[in-house]
Subunit: 215 residues, 2 copies
């Protein structure tokens, strides 16, 4: 399939389509019209058609979409038909929580190693994984064909670790550190800034209260 | 200050300004021009001015912005000059990780309670907080002036809990469950769909490899 240059806004919506289609498939739904998908997902049918047209449209609209086919195709576009090995750098609470989250494995993201520089944490086990010292990071990435590094460490350390990662063959960083990273464009970065998200929530609480005249 | 209707895109950028200004302030920087802020943050100076104009502009551009003043003003807009009490519903790995994250407290978000329906988890302590049974949720929210509920439970339970929350005085839900919630518009919802974020990363890895002719 010939793909055009797809905007990140479209990409951001793909996992949500994938999620809804997976639920429909699990419920035994075989076909769905863009109108029905539209009311289920609270987006316009025109938005859905435009989004899908970026990938060739996924078949006859008159008969609706084949749920199972569409689910598989979007999964392939998202690269979920491949396995990705990942490591977690920073074995604190959040790192261990992500390490214990089995759903990632179901999607093909396989935890291979965890790293920390705290002697008290090194050697601890998270599932079958031993937390390793930071000195072993580069050799481990190379020996185990690691694609993705998850950064769950304080921001002071994150920039330095990102510089080290930039010299390895890593393909992507999933960044939970509260800082923006500067890495070469060959490394994909996806940020999850939890504090930013909480502040946005705080803003929206305030805005709503003001609108209601409650302040 | 008279506020216009502000788009969620602008709101999404405010925490990032807040973060950078906090770092500048900590480094002792007193004033910064929109040009310098622009190159630091990798956004255009015109974007910065447009964003700030939504809130009255924050003072003389000729002399640059007063960092400390701007930091405080954006903090107020984000509602960070108030305290928000929150509870965590779902005391699994992610719930406990968020419960242990002290930085939220520094921003005025105070963890008051944790809830779970698993008898093995109920009664466990996360910092000074005992995990309580789900039956006590509504009365606890009322007695402790809880503003925000953090949902860190499997998606099967999340919709039902959201329906229960909708009948309380809660103002906002920070939703980590892998499902979209239907709640009245008086309740602000901010989603953190970790799997969606990981799939987006996976897509971008694939796209880059294709561009490089590596598949």
């Amino acid at each position: 399939m010939e793909e055009r240059e797809i905007s990140q806004a479209v990409i951001s919506r793909l996992p949500r389509y994938f999620r809804y289609l997976g639920e429909l498939r699990d419920e035994g739904v075989e076909r769905i019209s863009s109108q029905d998908l539209s009311s289920l997902m609270h987006v316009t049918a025109s938005q859905i058609r435009q989004d899908f047209n970026n990938f060739g449209g996924f078949g006859q609209q008159g008969y609706g979409y084949n749920v199972s086919y569409l689910y598989d195709e979007i999964g392939k576009i998202l690269g979920l038909d491949r396995k990705h090995n990942f490591v977690i750098i920073g074995a604190g609470n959040l790192g261990r929580a992500l390490g214990n989250y089995m759903n990632f494995e179901r999607r093909g993201f396989i935890l291979r190693g965890m790293f920390d520089n705290d002697p008290e944490v090194i050697g601890r086990r998270v599932r079958e994984i031993n937390v390793m010292p930071m000195e072993e990071l580069e050799s481990f990435i190379e020996d185990n064909e690691i694609d993705i590094a998850v950064l769950t460490l304080p921001k002071a350390g994150a920039r330095h670790v990102a510089e080290r990662l930039a010299k390895t063959g890593i393909r992507a960083i999933w960044n939970f550190a509260h800082v923006d990273l500067n890495v070469p464009e060959s490394i994909q970065v996806e940020n999850v800034h939890l504090s930013d998200s909480l502040m946005k929530l705080s803003y929206n609480i305030n805005r709503y209260m003001k609108e209601q005249g409650k302040t």
